[in-house]
Subunit: 330 residues, 2 copies
Amino acid sequence: MSISYPGYPDTVANNKKDKNEQDYLDLIREHFPQNGPGIVLGPGDDCAVVSCPDKICLTTDTLQEDIHFRTAYFPPEAIGHKALAVNISDLAAMGGTPTGFLLSLTLPQDGLKNDFFSRVLKGMSDLAAEHDMPLAGGNISRGRDLSLTITAWGTPGPRFLTRKAEAGDVLFLIGEIGLARTGLSVLEENGEQQKKYPQSIQSLFFPRPRVKEGKKLAELSFVRGLMDISDGPAADLPRLIGPGLGADLDPDFPVHSEVLDFAADSGMDPLEFALIGGEDYALLGATSPGSSRELLRLFPHCSFLGRVTENQGLRMDGKPFHGRGFDHFK
Amino acid sequence: MSISYPGYPDTVANNKKDKNEQDYLDLIREHFPQNGPGIVLGPGDDCAVVSCPDKICLTTDTLQEDIHFRTAYFPPEAIGHKALAVNISDLAAMGGTPTGFLLSLTLPQDGLKNDFFSRVLKGMSDLAAEHDMPLAGGNISRGRDLSLTITAWGTPGPRFLTRKAEAGDVLFLIGEIGLARTGLSVLEENGEQQKKYPQSIQSLFFPRPRVKEGKKLAELSFVRGLMDISDGPAADLPRLIGPGLGADLDPDFPVHSEVLDFAADSGMDPLEFALIGGEDYALLGATSPGSSRELLRLFPHCSFLGRVTENQGLRMDGKPFHGRGFDHFK
């Protein structure tokens, strides 16, 4: 039986590229184990069947060619890694533990070159193995561009760390901001500068979902809310704190040296650049007043971005901050 | 809080079309209730949280512009309906009851015209309401073409009706075959003939997932295996019976009058046309020898396609049958 991909008119299995398509399916089988913890029925039937606790977290995200990646400079492994990583990051941001995923692939009509697809799967399966996440099934169809939609699920922790904050809460970050944007800027310019920004490029290509940190944060009652940053703090902060509140950002917020260098080279304000940067998948949270010292003890690498205010809007040093979030390839 | 679509760099919320994109999100909110049975946490956070029984069925499928539909002649409602219907059909084919879904949308970069998107959502939400399926969350990104990936889940019945058959089993169908292919052929020819084929066009645009029938079949111990037909029986039958077995098809198999008419007009063999037709989402199953009379009593509209044989391959009247499955827009 084939590795699922049924249930939908399978243009792939029925066109002239039969052999290539079977190769794709075989490659998927090679890269992913057919069974795993919690998988009652894996790929090859109309549905996957998984065993679950009384509640599960579910998330879905698409990685789209020329919107979220370019084949010109993304290593294929990074495409596979990132498609899964952004989904795992959503689970981490709820304090959940990932337990499985489905992959819906759209393959370009003229196929993929050489070992490209195999390397995409390698990047994905390495990350899946790291998190003990079996591939439960999926779907292949054709389209003009390469696109990977993943649905991932997991077990919630002792509570769901939703997006939430109250006035007076301290805003904290676990992870860097602005690095991936630096990497993207450098790569889009296609200049000689790339060697100067290894961590920025790594952050763009291979973001690390922070599952352990999310689980640990969910156990701390003083942590009010949490999300992962995909569009940059300027765009995502309002999503964390919700309507009716604002934030006062600390102008002494620490910024990675590569971000500082790039901003200096480009004549930009490094803090503003970091705040509108995206795709770092750092965790952004709100912790209740007075708890920041304990948080820092438990997460020595966490940093503080500012405070939640009753005044709406984002401010820095008392002045309104109008930076926009991350804008792909614009 | 926005209707989810977080967790991933949201090109949509950050480009010049802000207002249009907010319109999209508002429209989704209008069309789908924010809560429903089993939804612990709905759209607007990093993940959805749903309550579940000890096992769930999961499936994912993509509906891709110019592969699975054309905006030129598909009513927008049909695009929304069909994107969800093909997923529900997968659940039905396991004997499951759908309980929720996620929607990952890729919107064309130049946007959608007029009330197009609203009508897509109308088609989807009407079908969702019919099956009591809340939209638990999702994602929006940009791309060259319109694409809808849905992940749907549900509660299994007393058993999972997998793809399975044994030699001697009787092959049965619940639903028509060849109708959707007739509809597609007529529409692609763009001729005057469309009025002659109302049910064919209806079958292509608005396939009905057979949830009730799937559940009832799962309760019958003599029913061996089941799947839904998306690529046509010629392509899907081997997936039902698996390797090592074959099928002897009955040349007196009943075919819908519209299929007969279209085949006659086009100089094709109607049976062959029906067998390679796809997208009807009929249920195809195997029932143990001697049980077909009881099956017919319980499902008066079911029909019989032939028998499972120990000889590999598909035969009709003793002659090998080489028809291929459904081939989109070729």
